[in-house]
């Protein structure tokens, strides 16, 4: 059955920081409060979009995320969304996605094409 929340796009605050076990993983930690609003369940693939750039990450519902926001470990996925003025804390849009998680190779391909 199609989930209504598939069409729900929510603006969230994203904080970027160190996470020893997940630094190379395509993962985003989502605060329970925002997961409820955005209709995200643990293990969903979610799409994060910022300034035209999109990454799809595996959602982990966790209180280590800021309230009303998400936490992404340091690494290429966070770097792909960030910019120099908003390096470790920025706003992005989040929604549940059908797609596969973004691979490092996908970002490297985009870099090599540029």
């Amino acid at each position: 059955m199609m989930r209504f929340t598939r069409f729900l796009k929510t603006e969230v605050e994203v904080v970027v920081g160190r996470h020893v076990l997940a630094e190379n993983d395509a993962i985003v930690f989502i605060h329970p409060s925002i997961a409820k609003v955005a209709g995200v369940k643990d293990g969903d693939t979610v799409e994060l979009e910022r300034k035209g750039r999109v990454v799809r990450l595996k959602a982990k519902i966790s209180e280590i995320a800021p309230e009303n926001g998400c936490f992404i470990p340091n690494g290429i996925y966070a770097s792909y969304l960030a910019d120099l003025d908003n390096f470790k804390r920025f706003k992005a849009n989040i929604e549940v996605s059908d797609g596969e998680v973004t691979k490092v190779e996908d970002i490297m391909k985009e870099l090599s094409k540029s």
Partner: protein, 397 residues
């Protein structure tokens, strides 16, 4: 052995029969997997011998009008000194991760704008232990157990149940904040400046947003003559200007001795800051051409503003760790990567030169986050290391 995994530089690592004892997860992985994913010498994507790769690097630097020297936070001080020499010889820019990491916090310590102490003294004497914008659970996994909240020290024999008071200040419920239960306080802030403002207002007897938290902290500070604040990336990014924080530390010292240690960075980032500081009086983003440090000389700014045409990148992976716009710019200039491992940056580099892993395959000195100098040991020495490569490049320029 010394663990080169982070700026704690733990000195109690034992490796017996391929079992790593005492290290944290990151440290153990370094020792157990140091032979994996190793870089090979390459020029324009083709494998060459290492001296050919070094020659190609020398050619790029010689032909370059505006090169930048960048990285070195995981290399020993002795290699960092060679990097400074090279930047001086090329009359150009030198910078490291600290320009977007904790360089500002190290600088206020080196300039003696705040009082500082060592981790050993923290373990032995500290009562109030404040982590401000730092999450040691993830960034310095053994910090709390070796030096701060959990261990017993000379004058802290009763442990955290009675002899320590932990304060965690963060914008989110970090793993460290979840440990703040017994003799502890967790403060969630939206704006670090508001908390600083609350301290001043409370001390002036005025109403303050965080009055309850501030009152509790000040009450505890008064119980001891040794307290410490560990400042992390959250503090750096939470404040546009460090002056209010410096003023706060000074004010707290009127109540009770309170020291400051910057916390949570690459193994030898402070070594880079101290090496450059001794030579130039500045900790990072320095131009030998202009004889000064400036925001515009940060590696990221040089790339953003198209001010460099080549970069020598050592022991760091900007494609992975810096915003994508930096990677896009990096691809447009000549890049030389010196790194023991294949990195994302090495995949777009014109020249890749393999090197040795500090503290495992090459020795030297590193500077712990509190400024204590530590001599590295090795498991096996390799000939092609950062000293070999940097000396060859210096000779060739």
């Amino acid at each position: 052995m010394i663990c080169p995994g982070c700026s704690c530089l733990c000195d109690d690592i034992e490796i017996i029969d391929n079992v790593v004892r005492n290290a944290c997860r990151r440290g153990a992985e370094l020792f157990l997997k140091y032979k994996e994913n190793r870089a090979t010498p390459r020029v324009n994507g083709k494998e060459v011998d290492v001296d050919k790769a070094i020659e190609a690097a020398i050619d790029i630097l010689k032909d370059s009008k505006n090169p930048a020297i960048y990285g070195f936070d995981t290399t020993p001080v002795e290699v960092q000194e060679l990097a400074v020499k090279l930047a001086e010889k090329l009359n150009t820019y030198i910078d490291d991760n600290s320009s977007f990491c904790l360089g500002d916090l190290v600088e206020i310590v080196l300039k003696k704008e705040v009082p500082t102490t060592t981790l050993d003294d923290v373990r032995d004497y500290a009562y109030v232990i404040m982590y401000w914008g730092a999450n040691p659970y993830q960034s310095l996994s053994r910090h709390m157990s070796r030096y701060t909240y959990y261990p017993r020290g000379k004058e802290r024999q009763k442990g955290y149940e009675e002899d320590r008071f932990l304060v965690v200040i963060d914008i989110r419920r970090s793993e460290t904040s979840m440990l703040a239960k017994t003799n502890a306080r967790y403060i969630i802030v939206k704006n670090d400046l508001e908390l600083i403002d609350s301290f001043f207002k409370y001390m002036e007897g005025k109403p303050a947003k965080y009055a309850d938290d501030v009152a509790a902290i000040i009450r505890e500070l008064k119980k001891s003559n040794f307290n410490v604040i560990f400042g992390g990336l959250g503090l750096k990014y939470g404040l546009k200007d460090l002056k209010p924080f410096i003023d706060l530390v000074k004010k707290l010292n009127e109540i009770s001795p309170t020291y400051f240690i910057p916390t949570g960075f690459h193994a030898n980032m402070r070594g880079f800051n101290e090496t450059l500081f001794e030579k130039t009086g500045f900790v990072n983003k320095y131009s030998f051409r202009e004889n000064k440090s400036d925001k515009s000389f940060a590696f990221t700014e040089l790339l953003k503003n198209d001010l460099i045409d080549s970069a020598l990148i050592v022991g760091t992976d900007p494609v992975k760790s810096l915003p994508f716009e930096v990677a896009l710019k990096l691809k447009k200039i000549k890049t030389i990567v010196i790194d023991p491992r294949n990195s994302l940056t090495s995949r777009i580099a014109d020249v890749v030169i393999p090197s040795a892993i500090s503290g495992i395959e090459q020795g030297g000195t590193m500077v712990r986050c509190d400024g204590v100098r530590v001599k590295l040991e090795t498991i096996e020495e390799v000939e092609v290391n950062d000293y070999y490569v940097m000396n060859k490049i210096l000779e060739g320029i």
